[in-house]
Assembly symmetry: C2
């Protein structure tokens, strides 16, 4: 059975040494009082919950899965309910929620660090509170004061959970063609009908009520994405005091049998004239839902980071323990029949790859979460705008790049175990199966790459990308006098130049033919992802160079060097792919495939 | 539920247009009479068996898995036994077996083409006859005349099945440390004791007897790989007439619960003084077993090819059927609410990637199998030697490169289905799970890469690699006057030059430090794999250029162009990784990881 120990030293390194969050928080009045000790002790407490309460349920939850009992009733795997009760009891759902609704008002990045740990421990379980937090955020941003008063305290306390109901059998990515209908009753409420599928945490026995956020069309709404509205549809209709009453006809019809995340109930949800209330403006539902979707995309990044971390930990333990063959330079362990496999170059390549992606992923995603705090709470509008732009630009990267890397990493972790990696008992194959969904949901990684290239980069002529580029330039200027930094600054500047050039080229070709964008987007995202990771690895290398006596920093420096020597170079291939043009993919008529 | 139709047109293209197997067979007396019609009709019959008999059991076999009934008894999933009876009834096990033992004496490549289809239909089922054929080959090559007389007719008919028992709990790749013991009884037999794990097809209810080929040590045998001997250990001891009698204490202790290939029983096999007979010379067991392992490595290539083909077929059907979004250049399907997703560039990238890898994989692996026929049966010793060298050189490529590509391809196929790809019902995730083992068993892909670089390339100063290079040079010379071929010859020559240069560099560095080899081997294998595929794609492009009127060749040409524009370029990254040197992976002390 796999183990998990929260990587507190690495988390603290990112928070305090790399991001210097205390300094950053001093500029934000809402969080100015938060000190490092409080922060660390919250996270240490969170680490205990993750590793002691939900990690032991990860493998059993995978094995047992959820159960559709009948008549819309679903049971989560054994122990999930009790763990959730402890979660609520501990006040964890409230961590970064608004104090006005009972929240603890901590910064978003704290919640994200906590979610990394929860996901390392048990991704399927974590999706129950994860979706809830998404629903909280959407309502917090777009609900009426009454809706907020009624729902937010219950979502903050975790007494109720939430879902997002977007997908229908005929529409996944293409929400413009969704069919669910909302008929106004006349009293401010609506009756919603339709079938939703792939609804994560859609039904379960963890909480007394479930608040579905449902996309549907009003009568006479325009076709396409501009005719979609968002509704709150509670499982049990609450009275004004928030006491759940009548059962609303929003019912689970069945649950899916999936490759992974077995412990989370993926539901078909049938709405049969279910009562709902409009959130935000009519026909502007996608706009409101995007709050939740953007949160969910960062959430997928944290799921992916968490899985890669736990997979790394377990493959590292195994690689130090399992003996097989002698080291190429001669035995290192003469009292055993063979050497631990960590002596072998390719096992090290797999371990280093995981380390390099995990540590850069953590640096990047925590930084992005800190920018969300700035976007929401910084007193200076210019800072808020700057942060909002960076978050918008990089959300598709945290979703797609981190999840793609994690799929690679969990596969390396499995491979380190040889044949044992394929056996369920060892738990490594579960990480691969769980990680696989992260490339799909909340917008496939191809959709993310289009979002990045078309909407975030080309649509504003590269303005947001230039903002990120300026951060890199500033870092380069600041460090160029440092002799030890040259080996990192050179490849960083090089990949920066290449991204600029590539962006310009695709932008020029896109003037003639939009397919030049769609054909280049996926490799383009990987190249930009590496620009981001190069920037964070260069920063981490600098800190490591300044602290060379200590083992922790020796490993950090070695991992930085590995990243630049062995991972960044894959961009050479991706740049060629991104430049290959659209004709080579679009030229062949569909019927000739 | 996924479907499967054997790709007869593509198979015939490879056999008759690319490899011109009839001409090749005319030089081999044993097969000189075989004509295209016979060949095609055998394969069409085989296609029917694969798609009608075993494909329908693939998903149910995955769902049900094997059952350990107790006391060493294992049942394969429902229907497997009956399908196997039909297989035996149809004479399929005998296809490429020696006529002396009841075989049909057809060339190996015919059997390989058949195995592609079997594996597309049902990899888990196919491993029962697959291992049997491996045992047949090892005994055919190294058994005594008496052993051959006793066992080969039963393995040829399929009445008995076979296994290979190598792995033990403490040794997988590193067979040198295996512990199983063989004590001579004095009558020419031995009593074998030990525990073997991960024994595919190790126990089941398909056949009346199971012939285990077991590696064990004789008393006083030298340590390491030079003290291992190979033994025949039948489940039931046959009398001289081949009638199974007494139960031999070689028993299944339990079966593994795995990520995939659920329909195949992966067994712990306990040998408790089981009776066995030496195969080949004392202490030369690995040598004898290598016949089986090399066959098994090509077998993994065929498993991988088969899986990629069936995944491609199903993702293509889905991509033409599923509508989602409009095409970038405007609607192509106005009577539906959206266009089929095959209009989208990235879906096409995923389909083309699958096509390009599958079609090159088929060309390459059939060619390799034809070379095995030449190696075994060609009257000219020089041809036999030349073929043997090419087979030795390229066996690690067919195992590792094809299986790595297939893992990528099955993941692309899954991704084409969006969220549905993650749902068991659609069957795509099973292909990914089944494909995952192919990167591990029969020597992990890292082991393959060491075999390629250290043993097959550097050990003879690149002599075998040069032989393959000469084939490419000859092809280039032959085609350089052809204007249309320039676009293919240039990248082919370029990657050839790069492989030569890279090989020379690593060879030079290896003189100083063996770790330069182990650190470079994995990316090196991918680069050489692309050299091989470039060669086959260039050949297929030539045939397509000569037949441009026909749709089949239009698709072939488009796929060739896609390969050179979008897949070959990944070598740019791998070459950099292979050149990065060993210090960056080996420098950090293990305890600092």
């Amino acid at each position: 059975m796999p183990s998990y120990t929260a990587p507190m030293r690495d988390i603290q390194f990112v928070l305090h040494e790399l991001l210097k969050v205390e300094d950053a928080l001093k500029e934000i009045p809402a969080h100015a009082e938060l000190d490092a000790d409080t922060l660390n002790s919250v996270l240490e407490e969170g680490a205990r919950f993750a590793s002691e309460v939900i990690q032991p349920l990860n493998q059993s939850g995978d094995e047992e899965g959820c159960t559709y009992v009948g008549d819309g009733v679903v049971h989560a795997p054994k122990g999930f309910k009790e763990a959730y009760a402890q979660y609520v009891e501990g006040g964890w759902p409230a961590l970064s929620c608004d104090t006005e609704y009972g929240g603890q008002g901590l910064p978003h990045f704290v919640n994200n660090a906590f979610y990394e740990m929860l996901n390392s421990a048990n991704q399927a379980w974590t999706m129950y509170p994860g979706l809830t937090h998404g629903a909280y955020e959407a309502l917090h941003a777009h609900g009426t004061p009454q809706q907020k008063q009624l729902y937010l305290p219950k979502l903050t306390s975790g007494e109720w959970t939430g879902t997002m109901c977007l997908t229908e059998p005929h529409c996944g990515s293409d929400l413009g063609i969704l069919k669910a209908k909302a008929e106004p009753v006349g009293d401010g409420s609506y009756l919603i009908s339709g079938t939703k599928i792939f609804i994560s945490s859609g039904e379960h026995d963890l909480a007394e009520n479930i608040i579905h956020l449902v996309l549907a069309r009003l009568p006479g709404a325009p076709e396409g994405t501009k005719g979609i509205s968002l509704f709150i549809v509670p499982k049990f209709l609450p009275d004004a005091s928030g006491k759940p009453g009548e059962r609303n006809p929003v019912k689970c019809g069945s649950i899916e049998h999936k490759m992974g995340i077995h412990g989370n109930a993926t539901c078909v949800i049938n709405l049969d004239g279910a009562k709902g209330w409009l959130v935000g403006e009519e026909n502007r539902g996608l706009n409101a839902m995007f709050v939740m979707m953007n949160g969910a995309r960062l959430g997928v990044g944290m799921q992916s980071l968490g899985l890669a971390e736990v997979a790394l930990q377990n493959s590292l333990i195994y690689a130090k323990d399992r003996v097989q063959f002698r080291a190429a330079k001669g035995p290192v362990n003469r009292d055993k029949p063979a050497d631990p496999i960590i002596v072998h170059a390719d096992v090290r390549r797999m371990l280093f790859t995981q380390k390099a992606y995990v540590e850069a992923g953590r640096a990047f995603s925590y930084w992005l979460a800190l920018n969300i705090d700035k976007e929401l709470s910084h007193p200076d509008e210019a800072v808020r705008k700057e942060s909002a732009d960076l978050v918008a630009l990089l959300t598709p990267i945290v979703k797609a790049f981190v999840s793609d890397n994690t799929f690679e990493c969990t596969n390396h972790a499995l491979q380190c175990f040889g044949g044992h990696g394929f056996i369920k008992e060892w738990g490594m194959e579960q990480f691969v199966r769980d990680a696989r969904i992260n490339l799909i949901y909340e917008g496939t990684n191809a959709i993310q790459s289009l979002d990045l290239l078309a909407r975030k980069v080309l649509a504003d002529g590269g303005a947001k990308l230039k903002k990120f580029g300026k951060l890199i330039q500033a870092f380069v200027v600041e460090n160029q006098g440092h002799a030890g930094m040259q080996e990192f600054l050179e490849p960083l500047m090089d990949i920066g130049d290449k991204v600029n050039k590539l962006t310009g080229e695709i932008g020029a070709k896109a003037q003639q033919n939009q397919e030049e964008v769609t054909a280049a987007a996926v490799p383009y995202l990987r190249v930009v992802g590496h620009l981001v990771y190069s920037y964070f690895w260069a920063q981490m290398a600098r800190i490591a160079l300044d602290n060379q006596g200590d083992d922790f920093y020796k490993a950090k420096l070695a991992t930085a060097r590995f990243y630049f020597a062995k991972l960044l170079p894959e961009t050479a291939g991706y740049i060629r792919q991104a430049r290959a043009g659209s004709e080579v993919v679009m030229g062949l008529p569909a019927e000739l495939f």
